[in-house]
Symmetry: C2
Subunit: 219 residues, 2 copies
């Protein structure tokens, strides 16, 4: 059994959402699982001195255009959310609680439902009542989920999880780590796939270093 | 004659260098010319509150890895420069002076030579003497170039050019604008190409909005 790929994301990250629609499929293609890690970009930005994209002068106006264009380019459903930016702690904690108590697959299904709710159905996922509805749709007891997600144990765990991510060099969303190799951004998914491919062809890796990533030829 | 594509870059930008090796070829494929615009990211970052990538915590360590991996992935020659970051005003001004007095094609050839000197041959392109050598290699009188690049007229022009770029929403390097549509980053060159393609197929554009960019299918 090969170790899973680590997939870090914040629920308020549009590029994280795009990545969430592809990561499992890509990993499966190369015989790998995925460990989903909800993180809080607000905490990460305190370390990097960054800020949410839409709040940055010039970049802010551009990014809304880029979200839309990138979604269309990759054939991903996307609708500009009304509630944005918004707090994502509750959704992140709920995902962790599900991972702890209901297993990774259900937690991942929940995370995908949360992302879709925000970036396709324009639902305010900062509202516990909205998350409860999504949970019910997946057969999860919403009362147990809410109790778990608001427990001190889970709050502490989320803080610690973000600290672990920072210690591993994670500074954005989405962020993928494959056997120690870091990839930032949905626009690195072509390199993520090339890297996974190269790991299955050890004779190519022996050729040396980064040559393994020569997938594309000059246009 | 169709209007040229606008290509904005800072000589200290590795992703700008990668883009410089592809932009002319892509544009030519779709019957377009390219207007090269040297800019100064230092000035741009005062507006966006950003900083050079390698100086940002966590992102800084990652980016050196990403430069190398991205170059290898796209089959572009690249060697980590010793002199970095470094001032790029002189190179930018020299390029503008060449555009004014020797024509766009020679200016572009010079710009490509400067990029290659920094990111392949590890030459300190902040040194006027090094730029003079590159100029001589292209049959440019190095004395005239140096006089032109240090004139008040060209210094004022570079300031004004950066102001124009900011007014058009340019906030990074590379940055491409095609008939008003902005693309930031070498990792948007797949979308740049899809967009140019769509402009040559007006019947596809009529289908509506961003659908024209649906080039890739879900993986």
């Amino acid at each position: 059994m090969t170790a899973p790929i680590d997939f870090y994301f914040d629920f308020s990250s549009p590029y994280g959402y795009f990545a969430s629609t592809r990561i499992d499929e890509i990993a499966r293609k190369y015989g790998r699982g995925v460990q989903w890690h909800p993180i809080l970009l607000g905490v990460v930005f305190k370390t990097t001195g960054s800020a949410p994209l839409p709040s940055i002068p010039l970049k802010g106006e551009y990014c809304w255009r880029d979200f839309e264009r990138t979604a269309a380019f990759h054939g991903i459903e996307y609708k500009r959310p009304t509630h944005f930016p918004l707090p994502t702690q509750h959704a992140a904690r709920a995902t962790l609680w599900l991972q702890n108590h209901r297993g990774g697959d259900l937690a991942t299904a929940f995370a995908k439902a949360v992302y879709r709710a925000l970036f396709v159905d324009d639902i305010n996922i900062a509202e516990p009542a909205e998350l409860a509805k999504l949970a019910e749709g997946l057969g999860i007891d919403p009362v147990a989920l809410n109790e778990g997600a608001t427990s001190y144990q889970i709050k502490d765990q989320l803080k610690a999880e973000v600290d672990v991510a920072l210690a591993k060099g994670v500074f954005g969303s989405p962020f993928v780590i494959i056997d120690g190799e870091p990839f930032w951004g949905f626009d690195r998914f072509d390199q993520v796939e090339a890297y996974l491919k190269s790991l299955r062809q050890p004779e190519l890796r022996a050729v040396g270093g980064n040559d393994i990533l020569k997938e594309k030829k000059p246009a």
